[in-house]
Amino acid sequence: MTDIQKRRRWFQVLGAAAANVWLPSFFKGRIYQGPTKGICVPVLNCYSCPSAVFACPIGALQHSLGSVKLNLSLARIEFGLYVVGSLAAVGSLIGRIPCGWLCPFGLLQELIHKIPSRKFQIPKVLTYGKYLTLFVLVILLPLFILDEFGGGEPWFCKWICPTGTLEAGIPLALLSGTIRARLGFLFAWKMAVLAGFLAWMVFVMRPFCRTTCPLGAILGLFNKASLFRMTVDEETCTLCGQCQNECPIDLKIYESPNSPDCIRCLKCEKVCPFGSIGHNFFSCSNPRKNEDKEAIR
């Protein structure tokens, strides 16, 4: 493991620890309720995890969109702008860096993928699934499928999110007899989804990030227009493919240095034998020649 990858692993561990620092809540059997819980951090970390000290932006976004009609009926002007703005601020600065460097669920996927087994790639078409998840389960259904009071449900959290099951569902079921007594079909479904993703992680690197994660989909949209940028020097790149072999997402970075799928782990930068791959952040240096060129040569 190179120095920068060791550093990245430390960032991932510290990111997971910082997002779940309030461990006493596990002993009390209830979730942390301090003032930091209103801050949206750009990682998938369930806010119903007992030790979570921040808000999950995807959960908060669904709740905000599901409350739009109700708020309008009460003459309250709330459209989830705070959540959207929080994500856009991070995205416009660094794009998907939080996916590669901070997300606790990303760390889990990388660790489970270390289990020895035959490894596979996933078809490109599946990578569009995360946009479907975002637009259907996170935006459209919470906005338009409303109950009798005019409120929408967090469809992604309810039917898909394996992070919620792992970080909140299982611990709270173990800690609280009241919650345990109310578990039924939905919990069984969510456990099956979690088990499916955990098994998938053994054979495929970061399958949830690549096919399903709506947060990755949002941040990825900013990759092409963020201050942090990957660069490839067209003159020295020989298209040898070593970067793609090392890439956890199986990207050809020389074709699209700032692809929405890139989690910016920087593995490609270190493995390139010609030093053709680099990055810059808010520097005044000229971008390399083929930056963002979709297909070269």
Partner: protein, 44 residues
Amino acid sequence: MKKKWAIIFFLIALALIGIGLASGEYQTVLEKARTVCLECIGIG
């Protein structure tokens, strides 16, 4: 040119955060996050 767009997006994002905070959305997120999300944990 790309950096110009990034800065524009960042400024728009800050404006959205500001509008959201002014309309009380921080409190809404805080209240939601302080209560156990029954959907998230699989109760519904």
